[in-house]
Amino acid sequence: MNKEHKQPLQSSLRVQELLYGLRIIEVMTKKVFAVTRNCNMRDVQAIMKNNSISGMPVVDNKRVVGIVTMNDLMNALEQGGMEDSVIKWMAGEVQTLAEDMPLSFAISAFGKFPFRQFPVVNKKNELTGILTFRNINHALIRELSRQLREMEQQSEQPVDRASLNFSKVYQLNRYDFENGGKASSRIKSFLKERGVPPKTVRRVAVASYELEINLVAHSIGGMLGFDINENRVKISSHDRGPGIGNVENAMTEGFSTANEWIRSQGFGAGMGLPNVKRVSDEFAIESAVGMGTMVQAIIYLKPEKQNESQ
């Protein structure tokens, strides 16, 4: 979360920042009920009933090997399998989430998979929590209420035409090359009108444009957010998928997964992300296959802090 400034953000940017800023570990239920392979369906029924839960991971030495839900329980009951081992009835292919992933990835996972809960694992792949939609709703409501209170406490500030304080989120759709670049043009004019040096404006414009084109060419759609104050421009790109399999490759100059059509539009030379990094003072990327990619690029507006190589 952005702690350095207190200016009210545009609402969608606030939500976007929230989804970036919150990590799964902060939101998940840490008290997890799980069963081992040795348990039978009768045990499962007792634990679910006593704790009012609708599903449980099955673990072997803290590793998740399956998930058993109310549905499996009903099937077992119907077919007289209550004394069977849980292994017989559980779903063996489980999608887990990493605890340090941003919440936005989890939301994509809920959209992509039919599961109503995801086991959460740490770096050692050990079960540390469980994430349901309820967790996400609670976290979002809690955070949004906190921010609303904060905004109410702030007195309204007059609009200043010379002020650099600005925030806005643009939506980008897949293959919409016609609109890809509009946001960057607007931000470029905004900075130019406020007397930001041309070289700095160019760096912001290049980073923003490359990210815009990435959203249009490579993602199934997403958002590009700008958060500007007198010290820096922060550009956040956030898409809904498909996610990058190997981020290191994506950061290698010349590596590209672009198809012929993207190339016919003049893009896909494999220079996009490296170019964003080149012009940025701070750069961060996170991605997970099936869940999405987020990139954050910061460009300082105060010369003493700027990237020396520019």
Binding site: F177, S185, R202, A205, Y209, G266, F267, A269
Partner: protein
Amino acid sequence: MELQRIAHALDADFICGPDDWEKISIESVVASDLMSDVLMSDRDDLLLITSLSTEQSIRSAGIVGSEVVVIANNKTVTEGMVELAGDQGIALFCTRYPKYEACVRLGRIMEP
């Protein structure tokens, strides 16, 4: 070098641009159909030669601060491109020469 000389050397058709386009100063040239390469450029007073006749060519030029775009091979220029060039104050030209030949011609007159 003034744009007027360049336009003459390329036998380029003026499509749209600011009133005083003849006086625009050009110090360097990028010739590419890959906009990613164009975006890597950090030169000033830049002219873009490209066979990519799309709005993205105009946008990319605008992003790197280039004031002049020359479309090679006499490719058709769309209305959208003209409108965008107008918005961004970019002078837009079309030349019958292919990209390579256009570069050779520019190289001859721009050589110090």
